[in-house]
Symmetry: D2
Subunit: 204 residues, 4 copies
Amino acid sequence: MNNLDRLITQFERFPGIGSRQAKRFAFHLLTQDQQNINELAELIRTIKDTVVECPTCFRFHSVNGGGNLCRICRNQERDASEITIVERDVDIDAIERGGVYNGLYFVLGGTIPLLESSETKHIRGGALKARIENDTTNGLKEIILAFSINPDGENTARYVEILLKDHIEDNKLKVTHLGRGLSTGSELEYADPETIKNAFKNRD
Amino acid sequence: MNNLDRLITQFERFPGIGSRQAKRFAFHLLTQDQQNINELAELIRTIKDTVVECPTCFRFHSVNGGGNLCRICRNQERDASEITIVERDVDIDAIERGGVYNGLYFVLGGTIPLLESSETKHIRGGALKARIENDTTNGLKEIILAFSINPDGENTARYVEILLKDHIEDNKLKVTHLGRGLSTGSELEYADPETIKNAFKNRD
Amino acid sequence: MNNLDRLITQFERFPGIGSRQAKRFAFHLLTQDQQNINELAELIRTIKDTVVECPTCFRFHSVNGGGNLCRICRNQERDASEITIVERDVDIDAIERGGVYNGLYFVLGGTIPLLESSETKHIRGGALKARIENDTTNGLKEIILAFSINPDGENTARYVEILLKDHIEDNKLKVTHLGRGLSTGSELEYADPETIKNAFKNRD
Amino acid sequence: MNNLDRLITQFERFPGIGSRQAKRFAFHLLTQDQQNINELAELIRTIKDTVVECPTCFRFHSVNGGGNLCRICRNQERDASEITIVERDVDIDAIERGGVYNGLYFVLGGTIPLLESSETKHIRGGALKARIENDTTNGLKEIILAFSINPDGENTARYVEILLKDHIEDNKLKVTHLGRGLSTGSELEYADPETIKNAFKNRD
C-alpha cells in the first residue's frame, strides 16, 4: 500500500466517512499549499497536548493556563448542588446553548446499548461513582440524567440509577430526567402517545 | 377533456397528490372489478350523509344512531372543566392515543399562517367563542391550546388568546399550552435551545 | 366498520397510500361540495365504460368514437415494422415524449420478478405471442424490448425472448434493447461499470 | 482561537464537511493513540512529496520509482490514438472500472460553470492544447469528451471544442461524446425525453 492509500485508509476511520469521501479528502489536500498542509499536520500531531480531558467532568477542553480543570468545573459561579450526566461532550454544548442550566456536568462516555448487559469499556462507571460521592460532600442535591430519548438512552439511565442506587438512597439525592413533550417543529398528528402524555402532563 | 383526464384532475386535488400519482390512481381503478369500483363510488357519493360534523366540537364522525353529537361530546364521563383546542380532526386521534386526557375538544379548522393578519375562512373563530361562553356556564375551568410547535401554530395560539381575552379574564379561566421538551427519539446534540430550556424546566 | 372506515380502507388500496394519507383523503372529501363529490363518484363509477383497453396494444384509452383501437394503433402513419414492448401504460407516455419513435406498442402488463420462474397472472404472454405472429404477416421487422434497467426488467426481457424465440428465428426478426449510457444528470464519478462500458461503446 | 478550534476550522474546509462533523473529527482524534495520530500527521505532511501530478495527464499518482509519469501514461500497451478528457481524477477511476477503454487521458481540472464565460483558474486549457498538439504527432485520431451530463458538463464540452477547433479541423481529428441512454437502475416512466431519444437511437 502506498502513502496515498494509507492516507485514504486513515480518513476512512473518521466518523461517518466512506471510501469515496476519504479519497476526496486526500485529493483536496493535494491541491492545498504546503504551508497550509503543514499547519493541519502540526495541529493534528499536537492536538492531545493542547486539548486535555477535564479530570472532573471528563470533557475535552483546550489547555488555557488555568490547569487541567475545564472552564465550567473551574467556575465558582456554577451551582454545585446539581450535576447533569450526559453521554458525550457535544451534549454539554447543546445544554449550554439552552442557557438555563447553571450546574455541573459529567461525561459518561457513551450509552449502554439495550442488548448489552455489562458496562462497555468507554463508559466511566467507576469515575462517575467516585465523582458523585465526592460532590455529595460538597453539597450535591440533584442528579439530572440527560440521555437521548431512545432505547439506548433509557437503558443507560437505568444503568446509572442502579450503579448509584445505594448512594442516592443513603444521601437522599434527587434523581431527575429531562422533561419530555413536544419539541420545536413537532406536529400533534405525528406525535407518539408517550410524547402526547408528557405534553399534557407538562402543560403550562 | 375526456373522462379519464377529468378523473385524473379530480385525484390531483387530493391532498399531497401530484399528476403522476393521480394517473396511477386512475389506472389502478381500471384494473379493479366493477363491483369494487361501484362500492368505492357509492361510499364517496354518500360520505357526507353518513359522516357528519359534530355541532359542538366540529370533528367529523359517523352517524351512529345517537344524534349528531360525536362519541366524545356525548360521553358524560368526559371532564367538562377542560377543553382542548386543536387545528384538525387528526390531532384529536393523536391526543386520544396518548390516553391521559379526559376533557372535551374543539376543532378550530386550521392554523392562522404567520403572515396573514386576518382570520381565514376555514377558522371557526365565532363558533369557538360561542362554545367557550356556553361551556363556561357548564363549569369550564381550563382551555388547553394544542397547536403545532412552529410559527403558524404559535401564531394561531396568539390569535385564540386575543379572541378569548376578555372572556378568559372576566371568568378567570386558566389557559395552558402543551408542554415542550424532548420528544421520543430526540438526541440532545441536535436539540434546539428552546427545547433544551423546556426539558430542564420540566425535568422530573 | 362504519362507512368512513370503509372509505378509508378503499383509499388504502390505492397505490402508494398508507393509512394516514387515506384518512386525509376521506377528510378532504368531507370538506368538498356535494356537487363535486357527485362528479368524482360518477367518474369513478363509469371509468371502465369510458376508458377501455385497446384490443391490440392493451393500453387504456378513452373511447373516442373511433372504435376500441387506441389513437396510436389506429394511426396509419405509424411504422408497422417496429413494435416496442413495455411494462406499463405510463412507459408509452414517456417514450412518446421522447419524440423519436414512430412504431407500434404492446403493454405486457408488468415485469417478471427475478425470483419467480413462472409467468404471473398480469403478464400477457399469450396475447403478446399472438400479436407478434399477426404483426409479422403485416411487415414486422424489429421487436424493441423497453424494460427498466434493473434485475426485474432484465428478467422480463429474458422471458419475452424465450417466449418468442422460435417465431423470431423462423421469421428472422430483429430483437433490440434500449441503448444504455449516461442519463441526463449522470456524473461519471458515480456511474457503474456497465453504464460506463455502454457510454464508451455508444459514444458519438 | 485555540488549537482545537483551529483544527475544527481546518476540517471544515474539507469537501462536504460542516461544523458539526468537523467537531466530531477532532473529538475522534482525541480518542486515538498518539502513535496513530503521529502516522496521520506525517502522511498529511508528506502527501505532496509521495503523490505527484503526472506531467502528461495531470492526474495525481504515487511516486513509484518510475519517474513522474503515471501508470497509464507510462503503459506502452495503451492506445495512443485515443484520448479521453475528464473533469477530475476520480472520473478516470470510474472509466477504468468500466474495463473497455484502453486509450489515454487528460484531467482538465474542473468544469466551466454555465454562467461563467471565461476560463477559470483551475482549468488547464493551455496544457490541454499543448498535449493534443503533441499527441497528434504521435498518432492521435480521436478526442473523447467525458463530462457530466448536466449544464456545466455540456458547457465544458463546448469550451473544449472551441479551444481545439482549429487544430481538430486542420488535423481531421474525430471528436466524440460519451453515449447517452438508460443508466443502470433507470425506469422508463421517469426517463426524460433526451434520455429516451438516445435510448432509442442507441438500441442494440
